[in-house]
Symmetry: C2
Subunit: 404 residues, 2 copies
């Protein structure tokens, strides 16, 4: 008689966004005259830039002709895209990453979920708290996290690194030594960043204790300040301890188009074994390459027109972030994020819990955000608003909040 992977049963229900949806639906049903504005989700709203649309149409045309038709893509990605990434995202920043150290995929969520597979189940992970839930959940599914305590909302075998106002929303080096360290900067959900000097400390630490840093740089395009690193490979020694995850979702609006990549330097080894070889074997065995038309669209992201058009798109969202941040500050809130990230993180007023503030905001301003406690226990008492709405909705939402 077959048996299931019991680790799946350990996962607590994923209630955050379904609870939000239920509450919003109930509110709208009871208040048909009110217009609810959603600043809760991390999904983009601006259409794909013209240069991307042109690239997609061009590639579709190629697929319609025998002479230019493309079948199976190379498992690890087309050379034209890997070369463009290596040049623009690494060489131009002075980082030594070769095209064949880049693995093209259909997005950073898949990669951040699958990357743990190439490591032993005995490895211990360390995560920031609050954090993007995929890191922990995929390690639960693999049986790497021990038992769950519903009271503390923590797993016995996970090292949590609190990121609160007291630490300026940055993690401190953990007391217990981890094997795998998940870091995400600019951060989802707090919008916080760390400086290159701070990240260098993490790289030095990982090299010292023999840990691997899984660095999620999905929001890199939103960095506006000079001393914030765009990639972990700006740090010396990162080639022997770091894997970097990148996405086209937020810099180019590919949430529904799907494209991402992972960098594993060939110097990152366990004994004689390159992690690069293991990930290549996984890609070759369990994946069949990202679609040709999406890879051509990814190439267009790096063209001069692409860079210009996408800088405007990022600026559009970052203007929303400014509207939110300054509006909240005017209204007397304690706010962080929003400078190098599309996320604004606010302290709930008057000691409200995250969910109490959610209800209060929905009832009084008809605005939807995300309770910080949904991202981990240290998110309690915080709340996330996102800059991915339209400008008009963002301005209207802040007017309402200021009037509350």
């Amino acid at each position: 008689m077959f048996k299931i992977n019991d680790n799946y049963l350990k996962l607590p229900g994923s209630y955050l966004f379904s609870t939000i949806a239920k509450k919003v639906n109930a509110f709208e049903a009871a208040n048909p005259d009110k217009t609810v504005i959603r600043l809760g989700i991390g999904d983009v709203t601006q259409p794909l830039a013209p240069v991307i649309i042109d690239a997609l149409h061009g590639a579709v045309d190629e697929m319609g002709k025998a002479e230019t038709f493309h079948g199976y893509a190379p498992d690890l990605g087309y050379e034209f895209l890997r070369t463009a990434i290596a040049k623009n995202d690494y060489a131009d920043r002075g980082c030594e990453i070769a095209a064949d150290e880049i693995f093209v995929s259909d997005g950073a969520k898949c990669d951040s979920g699958n990357i743990q597979e190439i490591f032993s189940v005995d490895n211990k992970i360390a995560v920031c708290d609050p954090v993007y839930p995929v890191y922990v959940d995929t390690n639960v599914m693999a049986g790497r996290t021990g038992t769950y305590d519903p009271k503390t909302e923590m797993w016995s075998d996970v090292i949590y690194m609190p990121c609160t106002a007291e630490t300026d929303f940055a993690p401190e080096l953990p007391k217990e030594t981890p094997d795998l360290i998940y870091l995400c900067f600019p951060n989802n959900p707090t919008g916080a960043t760390i400086t290159k000097a701070q990240l260098q400390e993490w790289v030095d630490y990982a090299n010292k204790v023999g840990a691997v840093i899984i660095y999620d740089a999905a929001y890199e395009a939103y960095i506006s300040e000079a001393d914030v690193p765009h990639t972990i490979f700006e740090c010396e020694g990162a080639r022997t301890c770091a894997i970097e995850l990148k996405s086209f979702s937020k810099n180019a609006g590919f949430t529904g188009t799907r494209l991402g990549y992972t960098v594993i330097p060939k110097d990152l080894k366990c004994g004689d074994v390159m992690l690069h070889s293991l990930w290549a074997r996984r890609h070759g065995t369990k994946y069949n390459g990202a679609p040709y038309i999406q890879q051509r669209a990814g190439e267009a992201v790096y063209s001069p027109e692409g860079k210009e058009q996408l800088a405007k798109q990022v600026a559009y969202y970052m203007n929303n972030a400014k509207v939110i941040k300054e509006g909240l500050q005017e209204a007397g809130y304690t706010v962080s994020g929003g400078v190098n990230a599309p996320y604004i993180w606010l302290k709930t007023p008057d000691g409200m819990t995250s969910w109490e503030f959610f209800d209060y905001l929905l009832a009084n301003a008809n605005v939807v955000g995300t309770p910080g406690s949904g991202f981990g226990p240290s998110g309690e008492g915080y709340f996330r608003l996102t800059a991915f709405g339209t400008y008009e909705n963002t301005v209207a939402a802040l007017e309402r909040i200021k009037k509350m």
Copy 2:
């Protein structure tokens, strides 16, 4: 100090296609005057049908306008595609599969590699021999297969079901009871099929012993005979024991476009737990949905024009299959497959090994095929040719083989 997943190191090198490539390159370098014809790979060569191209262009246009832009897709697929699949691939064949039992993905290779994750590592798998290598390799990575014997090329904890001329290339019910049974019909590499009555025996067996059948129906569109089942859900009782994997790669030429789906009926349970819930949780946690534009292209596959255009494409390849099969028979070979599948499976002549015949065919006809031994020990003495080339190349290859 971090450790890797040691199971990856147990995998023997994947030398089949790289060895083929090396041998072909060496031959071409030594014989610059000869034109090599490749009938070895399972990749399509015909361009996407006009109706697919139109659907892709239409969806790309939608992505370029704010009012019709699509961000994150539903994890499990858009309703419009799931409904089209449920109607055309199941309801129209009298099979009871609901739209919400269909999980849209970026292809059957990913699904066939990932599906084992929701099962216990203690489960024992049974596979046909020869077989598509992904089934075994992904179970090796998960630690489910025991130790490898390089002499027999077999894993200690895998149940092999030989499919040779003696069994008419169909597997027999195994003596040892498996937990997971991988079946692929029409078969890659042999091109064999089983009748509905034969498949019903497997369904009855799985229900009796409490096993799950993972049914790979990627080549379903090539079925031409009446008593060959198009889906395992034509069999009574399949809803309590079967998972079906489907692909758009071979019926619509999506090898480089990427789209597939998996069906898990809600009646398939381990105790109280629906496997449907586990796969939904995996999709929601480790996947971010198939691209909107590809899902619109998938929808077009089921339109009246789509069905007409794609039937012609399949007929084109099946005409190649006929050319290959009849040509080989004329030349005196013992041949199977090619009637309900784009693969032709031939017995190597004069007791040659699969690789000896590869070398002989390359040297004398300048034609490339795939040695059967590359798909498993019972493939030794056989050879695979595919119908996915152009008609002109296929005819030319067979003329050469007949002259050998």
